[in-house]
């Protein structure tokens, strides 16, 4: 299955893109997606435990993903 990964701010700089498609096996979790993302060039500069949102909601590491999910890696937020 394929999920859409979104990157923002310093994380988009780190990976050199704002969006990528990620192929995962059925039943993959947020943790599994992070392992795949970490293997990409530049991703070694991501923090060990980045915040993740799935379909616009903050998600836990063990949340299972479905095909077409929007998985956002969220840098430390700084609104206001």
């Amino acid at each position: 299955m394929t999920v859409k990964v979104l990157l923002f701010a310093s994380y988009a700089d780190t990976l050199g893109t704002h969006q990528l498609a990620l192929d995962l096996t059925a039943g993959a979790t947020v943790s599994d997606a992070l392992v795949e993302i970490r293997a990409m060039p530049g991703a070694d500069r991501l923090p060990p435990e980045p915040l993740v949102a799935v379909n616009e909601r903050y998600a836990r590491r063990d949340q299972e993903l479905s095909a077409g999910d929007e998985v956002a890696i969220i840098p430390p937020v700084a609104g206001g």
């Binding site: 701010a9 616009e56 937020v77 700084a78 609104g79 206001g80």
Partner: protein, 146 residues
């Protein structure tokens, strides 16, 4: 109640007018503005970006939570995106309530939750031409790509 991201200057007077009702005895307007120095470095401006759809959703949740907790639906918040210069309003929150204590509490709740949860990021632009991503506490987190 209402919340929004905007690419245009925030009309703070309009926000105050929006929460005005005869039942309200207290009205508060909080305005967050871009300041000229952060962490001892001279700043020329800040570029705000967001995960727009999620930021709108989180802001909507926060306003609904504040309305429920503090007993007033008269809450509006706007957050601006794009390149702002010193003195520009980046965020404005108007709250009105029959009593002042609850109005203060609701206003405080909205800004504190916004800073914790809403996916918005700041790229600080410095007088010397450099730019860096900064965290919620104003600390520099990463040098920006050119």
């Amino acid at each position: 109640m209402r919340s929004a991201l905007t690419d245009h200057p925030i009309d703070t007077a309009a926000l105050v007018a929006e929460v005005a009702r005869e039942a309200n005895g207290a009205t508060l307007l909080f305005i967050g503005t871009v300041r000229d120095v952060n962490d001892d470095r001279a700043v020329t401006g800040i570029e705000y970006t967001a995960y727009r759809s999620m930021a709108e959703r989180e802001m909507g949740d926060i306003v609904r939570e504040a309305a429920e907790k503090f007993g007033t639906a008269d809450i509006v918040v706007e957050h601006r995106l794009g390149e702002l210069t010193i003195g520009d309003a980046s965020v404005a929150i108007a709250v009105a309530h029959p009593r002042r204590n609850a109005a203060y509490d609701a206003s405080r709740y909205v800004i504190e939750q916004l800073k914790k949860r809403v996916p918005v990021w700041k790229l600080e632009l410095y007088v010397d031409g450099t730019r860096e991503w900064v965290g919620a506490g104003g600390q520099r987190v990463a040098e920006a790509a050119k």
